[in-house]
């Protein structure tokens, strides 16, 4: 059962600590490249002029908002089927970053909507379903925090996340299913209606956000592991080995 070896918090804790800085470095490099190309190299848009540059923040954050929720739901399925503690910890580690990206997607969408459509907010299917996503994230966090029994909290949280994931396809396909104010796909598997010079920075920013979210989730899951398993023997051993390393001479 080699796959499950890293499903144990005690083995994942040091692994996460080793991986997180690498993802942070990747995020910084991709983000710097994306911002440079997006702000300095990408041309103006033929319809919107300069203001379209909000797309380099708006689309990556909106994609992350949906993607993180889907990943939480996948961990939710694993938590309920394999009964792994780490899966529930990962859901908890991802949720705050999901909230951040959802808020950013709504915020940048409002700032983009005002100068182009003429309004900060409309009860449009795309926007309304994204707002529901934000409430689902916050609802999950409130639920898990409300329950003292961690085992039951994990189960209820996993269930809520799985049920709530039904909202994600609604967000994604809303522009196709209904006549919405929000425009359709600019980038899809079938092709793109975006000039390559504009698509490139957007994709770089997206990958930067992925790497960022992975790094943050790994660091946050380390905090959660320690918070939850502070009584466990392996944490005490961690203490021992760490002090061995720092005061090697005395040991």
């Amino acid at each position: 059962m080699s796959i499950f070896k890293y499903a144990s918090p005690s083995t994942f804790y040091p692994l996460a600590g080793k991986m997180a800085p690498w993802f942070a470095v990747i995020a910084a490099i991709l983000g710097a490249a994306g911002l440079y190309l997006g702000l300095f190299r990408a041309p103006v848009d033929f319809q919107q002029g300069e203001v379209y540059r909000i797309i380099f923040i708006h689309v990556p954050t909106a994609w992350m908002a949906m993607l993180i929720y889907v990943i939480m739901a996948v961990y939710g399925v694993m938590a309920l089927t394999f009964n792994t503690r780490l899966s529930s910890m990962m859901i908890e580690a991802l949720a705050p970053t999901g909230v951040m990206f959802t808020v950013l997607a709504l915020w940048t969408g409002a700032l983009w909507g005002r100068p182009t459509w003429g309004t900060y907010w409309a009860w449009d299917a795309r926007m309304t379903s994204t707002l529901i996503l934000l409430f689902l994230y916050i609802g999950y966090m409130a639920l898990v925090n409300a329950m003292d029994d961690k085992k039951r909290a994990d189960k209820a949280g996993a269930l809520l996340v799985i049920v709530g994931s039904a909202n994600v396809p609604i967000i994604y396909f809303s522009v196709k299913w209904w006549n919405t104010l929000h425009q359709g796909y600019s980038v899809a598997a079938s092709g793109s209606s975006m000039d390559a010079s504009m698509r490139m920075p957007m994709l770089l920013m997206t990958f930067a956000c992925w790497a960022y979210a992975i790094a943050i989730a790994l660091w946050r899951v380390r905090a959660i592991i320690l918070e939850r398993e502070k009584e466990a023997a392996w944490v005490a051993n961690l203490h021992g080995s760490a002090s061995l390393k720092t005061s090697g001479v005395r040991a």
């Binding site: 203001v51 540059r53 909000i54 923040i57 951040m100 961690l238």
Partner: protein, 47 residues
């Protein structure tokens, strides 16, 4: 390149920089909060 023109973003500075600024601010806040959380818990378990 003309910096004042760059910052004016075609007279849409508020919207463009409001978006990029919020993105940067959110990331800084999240990293700081996470650092505080990690510091607090590592002090508690005395690693």
């Amino acid at each position: 390149m003309n910096w004042s023109e760059f910052f004016s973003m075609g007279e849409r500075a508020f919207y463009v920089w409001g978006s990029f600024g919020a993105f940067g601010l959110a990331i800084i806040v999240e990293i700081l909060l996470l650092r505080m959380r990690l510091k607090k818990v590592t002090e508690k378990v005395k690693i």
